[in-house]
């Protein structure tokens, strides 16, 4: 299909679909380790998953630039779809992105490549959205910290082999750092920088 002839549609109901996606992300970040349902009927160009697309459409715009990983950047239709529906700038430099969309999480660049915020403005930092295939709250890391009663568990795959040490470093830099959203088919979970992680 030539990327030009057909542009996949955006949200059927822009107001309420965006609100639903946002609330799922908000609940996931507020309760790290919980898995939130994320229903979406978007059919974006591959390899952009409908969940990544839904998050981008709900949260990115001209004030919140996107960054695409190598897999997403290879298909120009992906950038075309995102530009049309969000109006967001899609930059080459990961450090300038508010949201990084990552279709191949095992090859996720080092977290240090993304904006970490500053000591005075730790909010000026990136949110990474990773398209994982599996997500479970019954195994994996043991989490504790804000948003978690006693403890929680979370497993996501595929992820880089050194993900545990990356997450530990990210938490150690609190309040600076990045926040992670794991978007699997139909659901999502999140790990804000505030979450402590034991045992990968």
């Amino acid at each position: 299909m030539s990327g030009r002839s057909m542009l996949a549609r955006g949200f059927a109901d822009p107001v309420h679909d965006a609100q639903g996606v946002f609330r799922a992300v908000m609940d996931a970040l507020a309760r790290p380790g919980t898995i939130q349902a994320l229903a979406t009927d978007l059919a974006p160009p591959a390899p952009l998953t409908s969940e990544l697309a839904a998050l981008a459409l709900a949260l990115a715009d001209a004030d919140a630039p996107l960054w695409l990983d190598a897999g997403l950047a290879r298909n120009p239709a992906v950038a075309g779809f995102l530009r049309f529906h969000t109006g967001a700038r899609i930059g080459e430099d990961p450090a300038e992105a508010a949201f990084a969309l990552i279709s191949d999480p095992a090859a996720c660049p080092d977290f240090g490549a993304f904006a970490q915020g500053t000591p005075a403005y730790p909010d000026r930092s990136a949110t990474l959205v990773l398209a994982v295939s599996d997500l479970s709250d019954r195994e994996g890391w043991r989490l504790d910290g804000p948003g978690i009663r006693d403890s929680a568990r979370l497993a996501a795959s595929p992820l880089p082999a050194d993900i545990a040490s990356r997450l530990a470093r990210n938490h150690a830099g609190f309040p600076e750092g990045i926040d992670l959203i794991f978007a699997a088919p139909g659901r999502l979970a999140a790990l804000p920088r505030s979450t402590r992680i034991a045992g990968a």
Binding site: P14, Q19, F22, M26, A30, P175
Partner: protein, 294 residues
Amino acid sequence: MTTANPETGYNFGYLDEGTKRMIRRAILKAIAIPGYQVPFAAREMPMPYGWGTGGVQVTAAILGKHDVLKVIDQGSDDTTNAVSIRAFFARTADVAVTTRTRDATVIQTRHRIPEAPLRDGQVLVYQVPIPEPLRFLEPRETETRQLHALAEYGLMHVKLYEDIARHGHIATTYAYPVEVAGRYVMDPSPTPKFDNPKMDDCPALQLFGAGREKRIYAVPPHTRVKSLDFEDHPFRVQTFDRPCALCGAEGVYLDEVLLDDAGGRMFVCSDTDHCEERRAEGHLGTGGMETAHA
């Protein structure tokens, strides 16, 4: 992009979608950095500053069509501020509204936390006049930002110590500073310090919106919220020497209500929903009207 409400001509929840996205991004960072004040581009709202423009913007950004909204002002569902904001969202977002704490999914509040325990899944939205706990100690934003960056909160401890030196006890009774998750010192908004313990390990998500000062901050559920104090002067809440005159409740926050020009007064629950619910269950106070004896 936006679908206008046919009756009012406004987008769902009054704000346009671009503004909602901006506020939503600020909320997400606020949740990831508990207690840190995220700057946001607060809009002019169809109400004056001081009437809850920050809380209204946060509520408008999170509200969905299935939410049930409760709005309280000093614990009361039926004062002007609460009634107007509830009507505003019933009209612009067509959401269900309630006065019952347990039925609400989103509770916007000015200066109180409901007496009934909050539960998982609820969101408490605070209206905040001055979000910076250090503002009256250090007027320069550039300086307070540095103090937060360095977690340098000595000034606040000096302020509380001066209370003790002057009054023999910590005399701060509302907007009592708290430390969130062991890092940021935060202003809980002008709630009475009576409510501070309810913020600790609260199952609900707490969001704070300051419209004039353009700041949003958050306390995620089950987060440690510690009221600042000293080992030899531990934090204590207000106590009342009598129960609510209407429902007989003890251990709740009471308002003093003047009844006449002769000094007659009664003390009643500040949380009107809690009081009504108790009375519906058959609890009765003494009706206790007191008259002044000159």
